[in-house]
């Protein structure tokens, strides 16, 4: 027990602080940023299951996010069902879609896999924005706010705890991946597929399972996001920008580590929110500056700390150990 605590002190600190914040802070903007940090972190963790642990780097995960967002929004507005049911529906659809994508793009590697996932999310975007009869087309779907847990009409504090619960769950799934037989074999596939194959590991099946699991987890968060923000816009929920964001948090935080996606999300989400808040109001001519800073920062981070913040912490620790030894 103590050993487990020691090993996961980082997660304990982060989730512990997140759990305490609503007790002391009542500022809605701060809580809102915290919800987004946790949600984007959880989404990156979901991405990490495929991208980090299985090495299937996707830039099309917005596809599953969109499926989750639409399932709940459609079931809610058209058939007056609870978003929880919508979440379940979204997960089922995403399981199927994830399996299909995982199966079809099984042989592809590196940039090829990434490109196939982009194409996949684009196809869904086109369907969602043009199939007016079902999805209201590009007008999107406003999600009405109906107070109550069953309808996910919650206050900011409740949202923090809900997002926190999801974040902890996803973090736990990743930790499980690190220590389970499934996870070990997945690592084998990621590091050297040919060797894994030679050892009799069903590499293809493992990759499909990882992508499918990742898709379902992404979809769940998609539902939550749609209920939280209150409007589903196809050009946003299926966008490449969003897919990039999922991957980005994980890469900046430390790809293939359980805590990495959350570290990345803390840094990126607060940086983005902070830069936008401080720079966008300055003068209307200078509004793009925060995105220039953001883009340049991204280049520098992946260049100089490619193993992410988690790796940086690890190196710092090793360095300190050496100094003390």
């Amino acid at each position: 027990m103590a050993q487990a605590l020691a090993r996961h002190w980082g997660a304990l600190v982060i989730f512990g602080v997140a759990a305490l914040v609503p007790v002391v802070v009542r500022d809605a903007y701060f809580l809102d940023s915290l919800v987004l940090i946790l949600l984007w972190g959880a989404l990156s963790a979901a991405w990490n299951v495929a991208g980090g642990y299985a090495g299937q780097v996707s830039i099309g995960h917005a596809a599953f996010f969109g499926i989750g967002a639409y399932s709940a929004a459609l079931l809610g507005t058209r058939w007056h069902q609870s978003p929880w049911l919508g979440m379940l529906a979204g997960v089922l659809v995403s399981l199927a879609a994830g399996a299909a994508l995982g199966y079809l793009s099984n042989r592809l590697k590196g940039p090829y896999f990434a490109l196939s996932t982009i194409a996949f999310s684009q196809v869904l975007l086109i369907v969602a924005s043009r199939w007016r009869g079902l999805t209201s087309g590009s007008e999107g779907i406003p999600v009405p706010f109906r107070p109550g847990f069953g309808t996910l009409g919650l206050g900011h504090v409740a949202w923090v705890y809900l997002a926190l619960a999801v974040a902890v769950l996803y973090w736990g799934i990743q930790v499980w991946l690190e220590h389970s037989r499934f996870g070990y074999r997945l690592a084998g596939v990621r590091e050297d597929e040919d060797a894994a194959e030679a050892l009799g590991i069903p590499t293809r099946r493992l990759k499909v399972i990882a992508v499918t699991l990742s898709a379902a987890l992404t979809s769940m968060c998609g539902t939550l996001w749609a209920q939280y923000v209150g409007f589903v816009d196809p050009f946003y929920v299926f966008s490449v920008d969003l897919s990039v964001r999922f991957a980005l948090n994980a890469i900046i935080g430390g790809i293939g580590t359980a805590l990495g996606p959350f570290l990345g999300s803390i840094l990126i989400t607060s940086l983005e929110t902070y830069l936008r808040a401080t720079l966008s109001g300055v003068k209307s001519g200078f509004t793009g500056i925060y995105l220039i800073v953001y883009g340049t920062g991204l280049i520098l981070v992946v260049r100089f700390i490619p193993d992410g913040l988690a790796g940086l912490v690890g190196r710092l620790r090793a360095h300190l150990a050496r100094v003390h030894a």
Binding site: V57, L104, P111, L115, S116, V127, R130, Y294, G295, I299
Partner: protein, 304 residues
């Protein structure tokens, strides 16, 4: 009755026109994709900032036309060396450090570059839409029942010339052979004493010069604005994968195929669905022939 479903002698003109449109649109796609396939093929890097360099080329043409009244065809002679230089600079500052890194790092480096350049343009030149209208963009040509304009024809001819030139360069010059050798086996190339850093530098600069030139050439045809590159960048990936990694002629043929799918899809099924056709085609090619339609050896494994 829906004319798309009607067939008869009167339709011949329609088919001719659709054919001409396909070829000319394909020329534009080829022009843009050729630099991407070069970089992708030799360096194994998908440049997500490709569209932004195109956009910068369009702005160069716009400002030269507006401030100095220079025709884009004249600007072309400035653009090629200028963008070669920009390519060199970008390589040294940004790409060199990640060329041996994992694909993730490379992908997200170029994504960062794309965001930064897009917003640089926004800050410098605002989000307004600009147009370049030299005389050749206003000169319709009518031929055998079809119509098109001079700028398109020139863009198409230059696309062909560029493809042929790059193809010849890769095949018959020493530098070209060295580049191909590096692409095929980096370790072996290093053992043979090839300066791979120089190869990548030249490749990247050439690719950027090509797309900068493309930006200048398409500026009379499309609006110039900070996110103008997005309009073409996804299509360029489709073209490059279809044509096969680093295959110039493949890119040209791939462009024509994508253009044909787009024009035919738009005419027969409605423009709303045209993109779905080429994305499905793209997925099908990736799944069944990841090496591209013309099958470059083992390209699907080049990912790792």
């Amino acid at each position: 009755m829906d004319p798309a479903r009607r067939l008869g002698p009167a339709q011949i003109d329609v088919f001719l026109q659709l054919g001409v449109s396909t070829v000319l649109l394909g020329g534009i796609y080829a022009l843009i994709a050729v630099g991407l396939t070069l970089i992708f093929g030799i360096m194994r890097v998908v440049n997500f900032a490709h569209g932004e360099f195109l956009m910068l080329g369009m702005y160069l043409a716009f400002w030269s036309y507006t401030v100095l009244s220079l025709d884009p065809y004249f600007v072309l002679f400035i653009a090629i060396p200028l963008f070669f230089g920009i390519g060199l600079l970008t390589y040294v500052l940004v790409m060199r450090g990640v060329i041996h890194a994992s694909h993730n790092v490379q992908i997200f480096t170029t994504v960062g570059l794309s965001t930064a350049l897009q917003n640089l343009a926004l800050v410098l030149w605002t989000g307004d839409f600009h147009t370049v209208r030299p005389w050749h963009a206003l000169t319709p040509i009518r031929l055998a029942g079809t119509a098109f304009n001079l700028s398109q024809v020139v863009a198409f001819l230059i696309a062909i010339a560029l493809t042929v030139l790059l193809f010849a360069f890769m095949r018959w010059t020493h530098t070209g052979r060295v580049m191909r050798a590096t692409a095929q086996d980096r370790e072996a190339a290093i053992l043979m004493g090839i300066d791979t850093d120089r190869v990548y530098r030249i490749t990247f600069a050439l690719g950027i010069a090509a797309v900068g030139a493309a930006g200048v050439l398409v500026s009379p045809l499309y609006a110039v604005y900070p996110t103008a590159g997005l309009q073409f960048v996804l299509i360029s990936y489709v073209v490059v994968v279809l044509g096969g990694l680093g295959d110039m002629v493949g890119a040209l043929i791939g462009s024509l195929i994508v253009a044909a799918v787009e024009v035919a899809g738009s005419y027969w099924f409605g423009t709303a669905w045209k993109e779905i056709f080429y994305f499905l085609l793209f997925i099908a090619v990736l799944v069944f022939r990841p090496a591209g339609l013309f099958g470059q050896r083992g390209a699907e494994n080049l990912g790792v």
